[in-house]
């Protein structure tokens, strides 16, 4: 497994998309700083990074797997390894680690931007007797959990759709419309809320709810439930994605 991880890390770090993802995040955060008034909300949502990271991740994740088929390197990868699980999990681990790197960069940039633009101390109480730092950390945790959901989803989608552009399209739709559709569904069919609250589009609220518990009223899931929901969906996506990968013709 370590050999596979090292090889995947080597490939990932040499791809332009790895650097492009970081630059895109920095540019989008800078755009947010320049166009929106800096306040507590901006800080705790890391100048929009909480929303951008999942979108970047779905594109990076699917591209990283799709390129093996595109370059025909999947042939060597498969025959040199006995365990297809090992290949799948090593790729998954590397891409999720990348989301950790993106989240760290976003947090560091948030600290830098805040120190220049917004003087309210980190220890200041904001919502529900929580400090700005508590809220930020809640969002960081939520972003990392949702990144796992998104990475496993992007791997499953690239195995299912086999077309990178289609997966990126689904990712963008999920990032921009997912939460709105989920809320609209639950508002339209109130009697079905006990079921609808578990829909995959609702899982995106983990990025906001951990820092801001009142979001429970929107997602209709407790913090523990939404974390569990994200992890269960990630496990389902891993198993389905792997089954598709195992049976994919080369």
């Amino acid at each position: 497994m370590m050999t596979s991880l090292r090889a995947e890390l080597f490939k990932f770090s040499h791809q332009k998309s790895a650097v492009a993802g970081i630059l895109t995040l920095i540019l989008l955060m800078a755009y947010s700083v320049l166009t929106t008034k800096t306040d507590t909300t901006q800080v705790i949502f890391e100048f929009g990074a909480v929303q951008w990271i999942p979108i970047i991740m779905i594109a990076i994740g699917s591209t990283f797997f799709a390129m093996e088929y595109q370059n025909r390197t999947i042939l060597i990868l498969l025959y040199k390894n006995t365990s297809r699980w090992q290949i799948y999990l090593a790729k998954l681990a590397v891409v999720w680690l990348y989301s950790v790197v993106l989240t760290l960069i976003a947090t560091l940039l948030t600290i830098v931007f805040k120190s220049f633009l917004f003087r309210t101390p980190w220890s200041a109480l904001i919502i529900n007797h929580q400090t700005q730092l508590d809220l930020l950390m809640g969002n960081v945790m939520g972003t990392l959990i949702y990144a796992l959901f998104i990475v496993t989803l992007s791997f499953m989608l690239i195995m299912l759709l086999k077309l990178n552009a289609a997966v990126i399209g689904v990712g963008l739709a999920l990032g921009f419309l997912g939460a709105g559709i989920s809320v609209a569904l639950m508002k339209s069919f109130t009697s079905l809320i006990p079921i609808l609250r578990w829909n995959p589009l609702n899982m995106i609220f983990v990025t906001q709810q951990l820092a801001n518990p009142p979001y429970t009223a929107v997602s209709h899931l407790s913090s523990l439930e939404i974390i569990g929901g994200n992890l269960i969906y990630a496990a389902i996506f891993i198993f389905l994605g792997y089954a598709l990968f195992k049976n994919r013709r080369i």
Partner: protein, 295 residues
């Protein structure tokens, strides 16, 4: 070393390989030939455990299955197109698999890749990519190397270089299974030939035995063609008549001479017809197609 026994390969529900059996010994250079769609690439992928199959494949008595690839650690392969990461340099592509960096450097210089090996592979020409693909297949002193159309895109010098390298590795015990449409090129290196058609192995012979087929037919002219036709027909001897020249099989030449002598028909010409390698392959394929139709 490699034993393929009663292998049937399916893609979806379609059977691509039917009951394939053959052996490859250390140092053998096997030419795998057959028309387009005969199943050459599928057979190679099957040996690499990349397809569903039944039957047995063993490498040094260790089974290879779709889920057991341990025996393939000492196998190198280039299937269809070179498997190269374009965003890595040639050197980095090799480093992903190389276990001995000194041997890797030797291989780079043997294939004359030193001038561009540190450039990103996305800028490589078709021939440069092909050489890198061959280098990846030859890394780590493999026991068996599977090459699908290895001479694709190679210039004359590179073709000669690769041919020499194949012979050099084979002399050290590496076995090769090579498919190519350029039969003349295969002919220069192979020690054994496997001819495949419609997923079935129809010839599996050492090249020396296969070469004997070159003189399998004779041409015959006699002073009385009409009487010759009657005599051959009466004795149920197969022939093809073109003008006044008969094409006969080599195993019948003595019998025919005896029959014609008894009929007092004198021979004007009896000589072997030399077929080249391509003609033999085409004849064998036609023969198999005929057998299929007879069935």
């Amino acid at each position: 070393m490699l034993v393929v026994q009663n292998v049937n390969t399916y893609i979806g529900r379609k059977q691509i390989i039917t009951d394939a059996s053959f052996k490859i010994h250390p140092g053998n250079i096997i030419g795998l030939i057959g028309p387009n769609g005969a199943g050459k690439t599928t057979l190679m992928k099957t040996i690499l455990g990349l397809t569903k199959f039944d039957g047995q494949i063993q490498l040094d008595q260790v089974p290879v299955t779709e889920n057991q690839h341990a025996a393939l650690a000492q196998v190198g392969a280039l299937i269809e197109h070179p498997a190269i990461y374009p965003f890595l340099t040639g050197q980095q592509n090799l480093a992903l698999y190389a276990r001995d960096s000194a041997a890797c450097q030797r291989l780079i210089s043997e294939l004359n890749m030193t001038t561009y090996i540190h450039d990103p592979a996305k800028g490589y020409s078709l021939g440069m990519k092909q050489k890198l693909g061959i280098a990846i297949a030859l890394l780590n002193n493999p026991q068996l190397v599977i090459l699908d159309e290895p001479m694709n895109g190679l210039d004359v010098e590179a073709t000669i270089g690769v041919r020499q390298l194949i012979r050099q590795y084979a002399a050290q015990g590496t076995a090769f299974l090579i498919s190519s449409h350029i039969l003349s090129e295969l002919q220069k290196v192979m020690t054994q030939v496997i001819l495949i058609n419609h997923g079935q192995v129809i010839v599996d012979q050492p090249i020396a035995e296969f070469e004997r087929l070159r003189h399998q037919a004779y041409q015959l002219r006699t002073e009385d063609s009409q009487l010759t036709v009657e005599s051959l027909t009466k004795n149920r001897i197969h022939y093809v008549l073109d003008g006044d020249t008969f094409r006969i099989n080599s195993e019948n030449i003595f019998e025919i001479q005896d029959i014609l002598t008894a009929q007092h028909v004198h021979l004007k010409e009896l000589a072997p017809i030399s077929s080249n390698f391509e003609q033999i392959v085409v004849q064998l394929l036609n023969q198999q197609r005929g057998d299929h139709h007879d069935d």
